[in-house]
Subunit: 233 residues, 2 copies
DNA sequence: ATTCTTTGTAACAGTTCCGTAACAGGCAGC
DNA sequence: GCTGCCTGTTACGGAACTGTTACAAAGAAT
């Protein structure tokens, strides 16, 4: 699986269309593979790890429908999202397509914007399911997707900044962060904030954590900054 | 649960008949709703998602014929199969009934066996298409193909956007969706929509859900977005 | 102990964010 | 036409959050 740049296979027999699509998707930051026929598509699917397929309904020789069916039949490729492009929005086609296992439909003529939105959302569904991000440290559990924090199994409710702050600390627990560093990471764009503000937020975060834990979980390193560290080691 | 079990509404003013029918159909594995008058029937049709109606021809005040006409007139109920019960097999009645849109006729006195067969065949027409995809979470049941949502077995009626919105949330329950993400997934084609519009639709969805549930099912994560989450875990 | 520096925190004044009512346009059905 | 339903936008009030400050408390250095 490609981690940073998703690989998209575009299957379209009309060269100008293929070019247009490829270009626009490449701009969005995807790695594009092109195929002008069903055979070519199936070959590329075998040789590369494709994350998503955009498939024209009308293709010479092997139809888009058939390509989709083959993708679904193969164990290696059966979970790849397929977006089909159809010339007209014939309900009949749509039903057949969805039966075969196409994930989504885009009717020509379509806007690039729309197609990109579909691509994004279909990619995300896959990534979401596989990514169950949780961070843990000394009794603190942070579930990023669900945006929840527990300490010793007690729920802690944090405001946006507190959440980001704790997240930053938890990514490198035991590391000592200077106030400047925390400003960079948590506040990012807004650099016009006093360094003392960090102290205040650390205080607020501590207060929330202390409601459910009597151990001091955030350590002050005088003259340097803060770190997530109960001081047990 | 009344989602996989087809819901049948029996309309019959004679209590003993009503009881007999209800009992025999319940034995066959249907969920039965009873009405002794036309008004009652129409009310139940609004409040529950009925899959089939058994309708006595002779009813006080509103006749069976009229009830049938009303069912056909309403967009929400127009595809529900209606089986009419008539006292004598008067050709005239039958013709009028079929004109109005009754799907089938059973002449009194009838055998339970015969009626059950008719019920089965009339249900099959609709049901065969539906190998019912359903999503569930914390009392919410969503039947995707039939476009139905129940909360604690109470029907909830949602507009198209509300439905998609809830669907999106239910695919990854407890996950926090940003407004942009929801726009991508729910609106897809129409990206030029204000992010605040999401809030309004979340509000509308909440209102519908709250009619039948006093628990807040959609959580607001300030500064981030929304998630399906009753907050019970 | 005294002084100076650094940190904790309460309090206040914005500011931002969210829920919702109200309104207007679109569209389907009658 | 009218009517009713659905949708997108806006505006406003209230709630939650944030940044700053001032002062108290704690450590270091002398």
């Amino acid at each position: 699986m490609s981690v940073d740049k998703p690989n998209i296979l575009v299957v379209e027999d009309e060269p100008s269309q293929l070019e247009l699509l490829s270009y626009n998707l490449a701009v969005e930051g995807y790695e594009i593979f092109r195929a002008e026929s069903g055979e070519e598509a199936l070959l590329l699917l075998k040789e590369h790890s494709i994350d998503l397929v955009i498939l024209d309904w009308m293709l010479p020789e092997i139809s888009g429908l058939e390509v989709c069916r083959q993708i679904r039949r193969n164990k290696q490729t059966k979970d790849i999202p397929v977006i089909m492009l159809t010339a007209r929005g014939e309900e009949d086609d749509k039903v057949r397509g969805l039966d075969i296992g196409a994930n989504d439909f885009v009717v020509k003529p379509y806007s690039i914007k729309e197609l990109c939105a579909r691509v994004r959302s279909n990619l995300r569904i896959k990534y979401d399911l596989n990514t169950s991000d949780t961070l843990e440290f000394e009794g603190i559990t942070m579930d990023i997707k669900r945006h929840r924090v527990h300490v010793n199994n007690n729920k802690v409710s944090l405001g946006p900044i507190e959440f980001k702050l704790l997240h930053t600390l938890m990514v490198s627990p035991t590391k000592v962060f200077s106030r400047e560093e925390l400003l960079d990471r948590v506040w990012a764009s807004n650099i016009d904030v006093e360094t003392r503000t960090v102290d205040v937020h650390i205080g607020r975060l501590r207060k929330q954590l202390n409601i459910v834990s009597d151990i001091e979980l955030i350590r002050t390193v005088r003259g340097f900054g803060y770190s997530l560290d109960s001081g047990l080691n």
